[in-house]
């Protein structure tokens, strides 16, 4: 019995060592399909604009990226005064900040090229998605923050 083990163990070892010489290769091509089909099926204006302008950093689940981009989901600031959120979308944000005890430090570029209506749709969308509940925002609200008396439509 013990002698048999002496033969089996080295045999298993040699087989494993042989496998180690041919580990999995990684290819450049990628066959992943669009994974957020369900998410994209929601066709509200705010959702479509979020996908185009916000999703890459803040992610499908609105949770952002740890260390880089803060979450919108479950972030009290998003549910706070709408003017604060409109300002961030219009003028961007820089410098370190802490949300729910995690640190974030990547610049958000200004999105002033979007119209007042587009920004209103986006802000309303993020204030009422992923469990967030807060008041909707109108294009007039955005116009007042952008430049009093000069809405971009």
């Amino acid at each position: 019995m013990k002698i048999v083990l002496f033969i089996i163990i080295p045999a298993v070892y040699l087989t494993l060592a042989g496998l180690a010489k041919h580990p999995g290769r990684y290819t450049l091509t990628d066959n992943t399909n669009i994974s957020s089909a369900g998410f994209q099926a929601e066709k509200s204006e705010g959702n479509q604009l979020y996908i185009k302008h916000c999703l890459q950093c803040h992610q499908t689940d609105g949770k952002g990226v740890r260390g880089m981009f803060p979450p919108l989901a479950g972030n009290d600031k998003i549910k706070g005064p709408a003017t604060d959120i409109i300002k961030i979308v219009l003028f961007g944000l820089e410098g370190p900040l802490t949300v729910n005890e995690r640190d974030y430090n990547q610049p958000m570029p200004p999105q002033a090229y979007l119209t007042d209506k587009q920004i209103a749709d986006i802000v309303s969308y993020i204030r009422n998605s992923w469990g967030n509940r807060a008041s909707n925002v109108t294009p007039a609200d955005v116009g007042k923050v952008r430049k009093p008396g000069k809405p971009k439509n």
Binding site: M1, K2, I3, F6, L16, A17, L19, A20, K21, P23, G24, R25, Y26, L28, D30, T32, N33, I34, S35, S36, F39, Q40, I51, K52, H53, L55, Q56, C57, Q59, T60, D61, K63, G64, V65, R66, G67, M68, F69, E94, G95, D103, N105, Q106, P107, P109, P110, Y113
Partner: protein, 429 residues
Amino acid sequence: MKTIKSFSVPLILITAVISALCMRSESGSLSIPDDNGGLTLPAGFSALVVADKLGSGRHIVVNSNGDIYLALRSLKNGKGIVALRDSNGNGQADIIRYFGNTLTTGIDISNGFLYYSNFEEVLRVPLSGGELVPTGEPVVIATGFEKQNQHQDKTFALDGAGNIYVNVGAPSNACQQIDRTPDSKGIDPCPQLERHAGIWKFKDDVPGQDQVKNGHHYASGIRNSIAIAWNNSNNKLYVVQHGRDQLFQFYPDLYSEQQGAELPAEEFFMVEDGDFFGWPYCYYDQFKKQKVLAPEYGGDSKAIGRCDKAKGPIMAFPGHLAPNDLLFYTGKMFPERYRNGAFIAFHGSWNRSPLDQKGYFVAFVPFENGLPSGEMEIFADGFAGVKVIKSPNDAVYRPMGLAQGPDGSIYVSDSEEGRIWRIIYNSKK
């Protein structure tokens, strides 16, 4: 029956002695968990968890006595470095001390000094008399870098011959007039290349060297090379670049969503004095196998333009995988084919959505004569803990830093929970 039994007793003893000898020579008394701390590894390799919950782990280094130093990108209890010692040799750190007052990213040891960096400078402090926490006064070695709000990490490599090479990342995505904004053209020539997006060389022992006054602008056109290492086998500098973002988001007429997720390649560079690698004017298309003109500079996803003058990569990896550390293996523990080859920690993508995110593994590239001699292989995987990663936050752990221990073990740090793994060869319990 009796005779067999009496025969088997010495056999058991011999077996025990042989296994004890094997254990001692290969793994000491390391206690290795059956699940390898959650990692999947090639046959013959195993892993143990050295420590956990250390903070936001960044780069890592192991001293010749086995002491471990982990940089922290966010302060923990006001400290930016954690020192760890395994005093009983079971593999787990049992002495853990926090020190240093700034957040830390690059970290290395050379000639009895601990070198470490933050967003604005590189410092060093003597590590003497076997002390775990340095008691000497830190001295700034390289400084005078401009403040920047992205790609800030001043990671570095030491050549062991008196020089230190510091990565200064680009303060933008693609040097647009307005950063990361649709339809904003690239500034031409890009003024950011004067102080950023390259490698600066300094003396490794002269205090207070200024980037402009004392630094030598060693190489240019590198967007950000957090992964930077000196290869002692041929005495050359290597980096792995974080390629640009947002080709599809800003140029949906030129790129499909899938192309935006896959392009451009993360490029592996061999860096020599005076090299120019193309950023922001060019990026590398791994399918066309050439540098292509960036759309901010008039590119149409095919035109090459001025990019025939940019130095190419020695290898191209899939886009957005975020190579965050590079290690040339010089140990004797791993099989011969790993010697002088490159381990790369891919922190994993954030910007492939809505496609699934990729990376989150440690890769190996075999080398011969200073160049890759085979395809990239996934060496250590399973960090994320899930099969499909839709968002980076789905990943439980993300591989960040790499270090080689005195016995040839490889240490991997994690950025999310602050775990450190030690990977060893041929010592499965």
